[in-house]
Symmetry: C3
Subunit: 311 residues, 3 copies
């Protein structure tokens, strides 16, 4: 029996089976080919996506909107939902979900509070996609990251990935490690002590026999990794600013560091970057972060098409 | 001779004849059927709607934009017009109307000041629709409310409607009573003394032989009404906060109160709601407020199509 | 060999040859005719324009978006880019350009800092159009101004234009004088001493044998000009507010002043206007500022179509 994602909300990466993830990957690849050939798509003709952003995220919002438009659909957009009258007047996200169901065929929400995407989905008969809910999840980022590895490496088997930077607060790396572990990846978790991956995540992965090395030494991890996934260390996370000044240098990737890494290293980053990857790395052939951002479009096309049943 | 709304501005509900209102109702019903059948419409292909919101209103803006997109048209949107350079630099709404005429085929404006929709319309050769002008009017809300009653009750004759809550400051109930009175509705105006319907509105309706009962007793009105239209009581309207605390409970509809009401009571609310309707009312079969919000789309499709002559 | 603008960034008006400017004019005229005939265009079907506005400009943003939609294309919009997460987190415009290239086929940027459009273009493989970069350039405004003169006068040869108002700070008049000088225009630069055209611009034009008369006397210039281009004098530019009060009256065009001008005077203004043109001038037959604003659409259609190679 064929799996279908029609009507499915995309809230947590754990809600997707490996088979469903593979279906997203296959459809993304198909749409990427169509984009390259400049095919005009009409899958979504007459359909409307609503994007509700309670905190700004240009990259996520624009890539979803472009995905919908490239599919031939249309978009209504609330870029500053926090200041919208409904939110300001205290409407629940359940009620907002009822509104969204009336006005659109599928919705994307970004919200600073964990669980808000699920609350919107509880009110909406139209499928809801979580575009990031605070410290919670960002499942479509994890899917486009996996897709990027698949495209860059030509496979998702037998690979070692180093997740580096702020692993404590980064919802991106939490969703991503949950997803990659199910495809048999080995991990380096590279972070200063103050920003280590939460123990419950590490322990949970180890229980599932996932191979993990935790280290603060970025160079060491790079020497043994096929992929490095950098994230930003934010000054405001440190109680003592001196700790930040001391540590930040270790997590700034430059071409010198890249040259000591394992041959063929693929470099990823969810963007925007500030100082954590030097500009000289842009010209390195394994640099994938701009291609990774571009992959957001076909992966989100796949998700939009699948959950609306119009793939 | 056939009536036509082509080129007409939609500023005040009083500017519409009963015949014109009926034309909106008929077209709305026709579009609702097409939406249900998932028909792809192209009435507005190549046409552009401009939405200019000088105060936020997600529900009104999105329902107009969705209506335009469902008709096959396109949208340019100024969600935060107050901070736009033109407004900040002191451009008149007449001049803004000239701009709108150049860039779009029809416009919707929401503005905190009474008369602003008319001022925009004075400059624009393209039809202008008032999406709410301060304490003034919100004519498209009144039209979708009438449409909702028509759909829920199957008729607009011989009905009693209770308007409840803040009747003093609510532009929605002012426009709505003006509209419904012309279709022969009987009214309960249910409000605490401090928030009663303005005397000039009540007296004007009575002169037209409209049957009105004014009462602060919500339960009494519900026992004799076919439809109740709840509005929000805002704390900031009261000089003495103690008055607010004392009164608010009487205007919070819950399932217990609903069970004592006339059989078949239809419950409406312009949304967003906060505490004035309890969540347990959502499951009651006469609860129409979510369907009412959804009706905004076909009613606004009808208006957009009629004023641009593309119905 | 045919000139092509395909792939060209539109950053400074000086980057356009006279031949290229003429190509924009011809295509604008062609699109204007199609708009008048209500032709449905599909040149841009399946294509996406990204508008990135780091400062608000309703007129510029909406005219670009309408231009794209009238061509059958689609739009993703960041109306408040300054508060977007990428900008707030310190992403470079080079990186933003990489994003834009992934999500759109052409981009427009408005930014308060000189050089920002060029920086965005350095990162983007998709063509970038400068919608105004601080005190720098606003090349599409200059092109639509030239187009307006061409339409109003039926020619661009042997004409005298008076640029009046704040010539010191106005990027619009800087770009415009650079463009018009190449078509043989004669100039009056009409400004109070404190707001004169920068000496380097005047001297540079004189070196190219352009005829220029500098004067603070608006009436005198109007008596000898075919076109007057008014700009706004902003109070905040004056060190001494008394200077502003003394001067502003001289640069407020009213019908009395217009009647003393050369017969057939064409009156232009980039809009929004505040007090620098009285409302009684609106009814004068040579009043072109509203038509000028409307010309923004076909001129920007031409630019969008030419730089994407889809004219």
């Amino acid at each position: 029996m064929a799996t279908s994602l029609k009507g499915k909300d995309v809230i947590r990466i754990q809600d997707f089976s490996v088979e469903e993830v593979n279906m997203v990957m296959e459809n993304a690849a198909r749409f990427a080919t169509m984009l390259e050939k400049n095919d005009r798509l009409t899958n979504m003709a007459g359909k409307v996506l609503a994007t509700l952003f309670y905190e700004p995220s240009t990259r996520t919002r624009l890539s979803f909107e472009t995905a919908m438009l490239r599919l031939g659909g249309q978009v209504v957009s609330v870029a500053e939902a926090k200041t919208s009258s409904s939110a300001a007047k205290g409407e629940t996200l359940f009620d907002t979900g009822k509104m969204i169901e009336s006005y659109s065929d599928v919705a994307v929400i970004r919200h600073p509070i964990v669980g808000s995407a699920a609350e919107l989905a509880s009110g909406s008969g139209a499928p809801v996609i979580n575009g990031g809910d605070g410290a919670g999840q960002h499942p479509t980022q994890a899917l486009l990251d996996l897709y990027t590895i698949l495209i860059e490496k030509g496979k998702v088997k037998d690979l070692t990935v180093a997740l580096a930077g702020d692993l404590k607060n980064g919802r991106t790396v939490h969703s991503l490690s949950a997803l990659l572990s199910r495809f048999g990846f080995r991990f380096y978790f590279v972070a200063p002590d103050a920003l280590k991956m939460p123990a419950e995540i590490t322990e949970n992965l180890k229980k599932q026999k996932v191979e993990i090395v935790e280290t603060p030494d970025c160079a060491k991890a790079l020497a043994d990794s096929d992929v490095v996934y950098m994230t930003r260390i934010q000054k405001e996370r440190f109680e003592d600013p001196a700790d930040y000044e001391r540590l930040k240098g270790s997590y700034e990737l430059d071409l010198k560091l890249v040259k000591k890494a394992k041959k063929g290293l693929t470099i990823m980053h969810p963007l925007p970057r500030v100082t954590e990857i030097a500009k000289d790395v842009d010209s390195y052939e394994g640099t994938a972060y701009f291609r990774q951002a571009a992959n957001g479009v076909p992966v989100r096309m796949a998700l939009l098409a699948l959950v609306t049943g119009l793939e």
